[in-house]
């Protein structure tokens, strides 16, 4: 059915050897997970676009400088860069006036997007904005683990390494994130279905 997937490590080797299409494949493979994670972490579409660019420019520089040594662990490596840059930007933003989020900038790539009516899309967009706002209200450590596990699809072990935390601490943070989100949802009665 599906052709065997070329691993990330092989794609990087091919790109370094001059195969541009390999980089494009790598970017397309991971763009949604990395971008969604950044977006949820910083809760600002425009800032997320900037950070996404920065992440991949760092990736390009490191790979071309021969500094990539993670073989098929591309996603955790790229997510480490994304996470660190997001934290830097969040800290900078705390010291600066709030950047207002765009009203029309959200392009959510849901399955069946094109089959939905404008009204359905509007409802979905509102719901997504509410959910992002709730995630944003979580304590930073809980938000981080939730985003890395749920949106970046990293394992708890990978998250523990990335955040330099104990595995049980990461799992505990996820557990509390779940409890807190559930409480917030009940309180705010988000339309979720």
């Amino acid at each position: 059915m599906d052709a065997p997937m070329i691993t990330d490590g092989v794609l990087i080797q091919r790109y370094v050897a001059g195969n541009q299409a390999a980089f494009e494949t790598l970017l397309k493979r991971h763009r949604a997970r990395i971008f969604t994670s950044i977006y949820v972490l910083v809760n600002d579409r425009y800032l997320a676009e900037d950070i996404f660019q920065e992440v991949f420019i760092k990736v390009i520089q490191s790979v071309n400088a021969g500094k990539y040594s993670h073989e098929d662990k591309f996603l955790p490596w790229a997510m480490r860069i994304a996470r660190n840059l997001s934290i830097d930007h969040i800290r900078q933003r705390k010291r600066m006036p709030m950047i207002t989020d765009s009203e029309g900038g959200d392009i959510f790539d849901n399955i069946g997007l094109f089959e939905k009516s404008p009204e359905q899309l509007r409802i979905e967009k509102d719901k997504n904005a509410q959910l992002r706002a709730m995630i944003w209200k979580l304590p930073e450590e809980q938000r981080e683990v939730l985003v890395l596990r749920h949106y970046a699809d990293l394992s708890f072990k990978e998250i523990a390494v990335l955040t330099e935390s104990n595995l049980n601490t990461c799992i505990g943070r996820m557990h509390y994130a779940v409890l807190n989100l559930r409480k917030m949802m009940q309180k705010n009665t988000v339309v979720v279905k």
């Binding site: 980089f23 971008f35 991949f56 520089q61 790539d109 849901n110 989100l181």
Partner: protein
């Protein structure tokens, strides 16, 4: 909740990250344990609600791709 199995175990089970013996234990006891089922269902509902995917703007992607071309210097495989 069973004394031996905690919500943390169930969270790991949900993500298919618990140890093989824990998984076997949960698999075998789950049908008779509505409390676990309820917890797993609530996780499933919550994560389903959180499921959304955002993609970067095509302009952003193009900038990255242009950058990748300008940095790339074919070196040939050894």
């Amino acid at each position: 909740m069973d004394a031996a199995i905690t919500q943390t175990d169930l969270l790991l089970y949900y993500y298919d990250e618990c140890s093989a013996d824990r998984k076997a234990m949960i698999d075998s006891q789950l049908p008779a344990n509505p409390e676990w089922q309820s917890y797993l269902n609530s996780l499933s509902d919550l994560f389903h609600d959180l499921d959304f995917v955002a993609i970067p703007n095509p302009t952003t992607v193009n900038i990255v791709l242009e950058e990748s071309i300008s940095f790339s210097s074919p070196v040939g495989s050894e």
